[in-house]
């Protein structure tokens, strides 16, 4: 250890949570509520990680959330509503998103412009209207999604150790599709090409083309969104992240901002503490880490000799998911005047997701975007007479690697310009002459504010070999350092707000179990 011994003893906590992202916040709150002495350390001066907001002029922008999954109605609560309302009891308001999405495919050979509603039967009807004869096959895909949901719920209830007989008897379709990508399953179901395009627009939320993305994850996601709808926080994500932070404090948890953990101290395979960028050493036997395994094993574990070889192999066997670019705009006109009726827009050249994915390695205007008009979900999210539009697209890690500081502003401006142009063309609106505030976040921005490895936002790619099924089944065997739990988008449930929030809860649960065993809490 480099630091000289100070007069006072090191601070000591039952649990140290590294990073106040979605996973870290929930983990810290759950552990604090159980009566453990916990400290949450965050390098930025805000909670939330990617789940945040920022103010420019008279606008407050949502940083990255499009649609919160698994929230659902008060009468039929989804997992996240249960977590927020019943387990954490936080003070944050969520509003429903009006429609699933408007899909605009611009290439003349594939041309689609359709609004897809929430509600499974309504969705199937909307597809049938565009693609007569697709109804049965599309319904089967939703049925599969439902069965997958039931199967994963069962596996969850069995804590990753399901009875094989029950699986074979009651969850056959889940088993038969669990090892395959979406294309294979949709081939088997004979879903017409155009219907697939309409059904697969959410592929961008997973960032892996349908030829490779795992069916279990994708079908459950599509089914869940269309069945339960999607929600967004009324005051942007900063509202619920602040509400969780307030809860941590209410239960005597400590939250310290502007504090970057530089080392996780490990001795003989066990966590013994952490060291901050201020040189402070804090003692603990339990770290819940919201940083990725990539950062943790390559940078944080100290000494290096304590890094297990298999941990590095696991990282290198995987593919890091995509990073994003977001163009945030505050416009001095209303959505109504622009003729924008919908909240969520998927706009792409083609629905050949391989072609789209492959192009995301190039430092050029991406041919796919997911855009939002926030006012169509929250009418008063900006002052009267204005509206907020954001355009999000993806890049694969590596695309921006060669950008020099002096080229950076030009590069991002050029790409943002192209994304705005594509949005205007596809929707037939003119927004450019109304831009009052604009900000462009890039992979650099996401690294800057969260420290994420190479700007990566989406965790590890969810291919079948490493989808959430094998991840959850093997989660107990893949802990390499005693006292170290991971949570967040690089974790067991994959990325996305809901997955990360739930993963925080799971990490807390494991840690609480250990603390009980050790007699530290009851």
């Amino acid at each position: 250890m480099t630091k000289s011994i100070s007069k006072e003893k090191n601070r000591s906590f039952d649990v140290i949570v590294i990073g106040a992202g979605n996973g870290g916040l929930v983990a810290a709150a759950r552990v604090a509520m159980k009566g453990a002495k916990v400290i949450l350390l965050e390098q930025h001066n805000l909670p939330g990680g990617f789940a945040s907001s920022f103010v420019r002029g008279r606008f407050e922008f949502e940083t990255s959330l499009h649609e919160l999954y698994d929230y659902s109605t008060p009468g039929n609560k989804g997992g996240i509503r249960i977590l927020f309302e019943d387990r954490l009891n936080i003070d944050a308001e969520f509003v429903p998103v009006p429609e699933a999405y408007r899909l605009i495919v611009t290439n003349p050979d594939e041309k689609i412009d359709a609004v897809l509603p929430f509600g499974i039967e309504a969705f199937i009807k909307a597809v049938e209207k565009e693609v007569p004869g697709s109804e049965d096959s599309v319904r089967k895909f939703f049925q599969l999604g439902k069965e997958i949901d039931q199967a994963t719920t069962y596996i969850g209830q069995m804590r990753g150790n399901p009875d094989q007989d029950v699986l074979l008897r009651e969850h056959t379709n889940f088993l038969r599709t669990a090892a395959y990508p979406v294309d294979d399953v949709q081939d088997a179901l004979n879903i017409p090409k155009k219907a697939r395009a309409m059904l697969n627009a959410y592929w961008l939320y997973l960032g892996v083309p349908t030829s490779r993305v795992n069916t279990t994850v994708f079908a459950a996601m599509v089914h869940g969104y269309i069945l339960k709808g999607a929600y967004i926080p009324k005051m942007r994500s900063h509202e619920y992240t602040s509400a969780i932070e307030a809860k941590i404090r209410e239960y005597d948890g400590t939250v310290e901002y502007n504090t970057r953990v530089e080392k996780i101290l490990v001795k003989e395979g066990k966590v013994i503490g952490i060291q901050t960028n201020k040189g402070e050493i804090i003692d603990t036997n339990h770290v819940i880490c919201n940083a990725s395994p990539t950062l943790t094993y390559n940078k944080l574990i100290h000494p290096k000799s304590e890094v297990p070889e298999i941990a590095l192999k696991e990282i290198n066997a995987r593919t890091h998911g995509v990073t994003t670019i977001v163009v945030y705009m505050g416009l001095d006109t209303t959505a109504e005047k622009l003729g924008l009726k919908d909240y969520s827009y998927f706009i792409c050249d083609t629905m050949d997701t391989d072609q789209l994915y492959d192009s995301l390695i190039n430092l050029e205007v991406p041919k796919v975007q997911a855009s939002l008009c926030l006012n169509n979900a929250i009418p008063n999210c900006s002052p009267p007479g204005t509206c907020i539009i954001s355009i999000t697209s993806a890049f694969r890690p590596g695309a921006w690697d060669k950008v020099k500081p002096e080229e950076y502003f030009k590069v991002k401006t050029k790409i943002a310009d192209g994304l705005i142009e594509n949005f205007e063309k596809a929707t037939g609106t003119k927004i450019r002459n109304h831009i009052e505030e604009i900000e462009v976040a890039t992979p650099q921005t996401f690294s800057r504010f969260t420290g994420t490895y190479n700007g990566v936002i989406y965790g590890y790619e969810l291919e079948s070999w490493d989808s959430i099924v094998p991840r959850l089944q093997n989660m107990n065997d893949e802990k390499h350092i005693e006292g170290l739990e991971f949570c967040g988008g690089f974790g067991k449930r994959g990325h996305g707000y809901s997955s990360s929030l739930k993963d925080g809860e799971t990490a807390a649960l494991f840690t609480i179990q250990s603390l009980m065993k050790e007699g530290i809490i009851k």
Partner: protein
Amino acid sequence: MSQKKEKDLDITIKSTSRDLLAFMKLTANRKKRFERASSEPIRSDPMNELAHSLHPIRQYLVIKSIKDETKTTKTFKLIPNTELGTKELAYFRPGQYLSLKVNVNGIDITRPYSIASSPNDALEGFYELTIRKEENGFLTKQIWDQWKVGTQIESSGPEGFFYFDPLRDSKQIVGIAGGSGITPFRSIIKAIIKETIDAKLTLLYGSSEEDDIIFYNEFKALEKQFPEKLKIVYILSCEIVSLEGCEQGFITADIIRKYCDVDNSSFFLCGPQIMYNFVEKELTKFNLPSRRIRREAFGEVKDVLDLPGFPHEIAEKSFKMTVHMGEMTKEIPALATESLIIAMERAKLAPPSKCRSGECGFCRSLLISGEVYVNPISDWRRAADKKFGYIHPCSSYPLSDLEIKVPKQIGN
């Protein structure tokens, strides 16, 4: 959906046995893939490196040279202090500022200063800050007394949102500057003539005396060299005006109309609060959309008593402020007419701050108890921060005894 239909679903991808086998083998195959993978650590992280170079937490600088601009203004040329680990200077967007961290009589404070040099100059290895000596200036007195060639300066990375954005702004810029508010425009002008900004600038520059005009000769020369890109009008509020290219009086709507294409320009304002008050009123005569007018943050508010709704009856009061910072708790006095950030600086707590205008949120702190007055002109808090009791101490004033939790400086 009927029960029957649900039972109907019977998916086979390859064959029932092969599909099940594929599932059964998931774990074993995955293990094999892990074992076969390289165990080489990942050493490069280009996006974090780019973030670090564009947005360093600290830049250690040293004064290379000092130039007298006017009798009250100096330009300090700053280069990297390599001994303290700063190897290169962060690139920036013309119009941005540096937040300097300075120790004045034992008290650590910060001050934002617009960068007067160009982004290209930063690549060449220097920044220039042009600073005017303020009457009773807490910091500028020390600068005049102590800053010499070789003095070490600690700075933030480039900050602020006062810059030309081609996606938003007209290619015709009207700059309106008052006094030392001219400094960001020097950077913008340098970028325009170097063609890193594709726009032309008409600059209306108000000063109180001819002697106070900063960069007069330099700008005159550039105007001659780039007449199609640059037009500068000097507006002097003094009685007698003798210099070429000057108007006497204030930056009125008439002056603006005389020199500018009002309807097709983006207006950029930088100057003292008194100038904003005057010019913004004049600009309302043109009924411009607000996207056409951008203003640099005020910096420290000097006359808090003039702010709308400020309760004058408590102006003489001093309150008790309990500050929690990390593990430390300290009780300090807080004057009603001084921002909480100043109260903490006086008490030698060195709180984090950058813009000192309520804008950047770097000083964001939790108000545990008590009440504050928040300057309504510079309240850039997030909606949820208002809901959960977070404040920006640099734009907040005490209305009662209070208790706050402040993050420590980010450190190195």
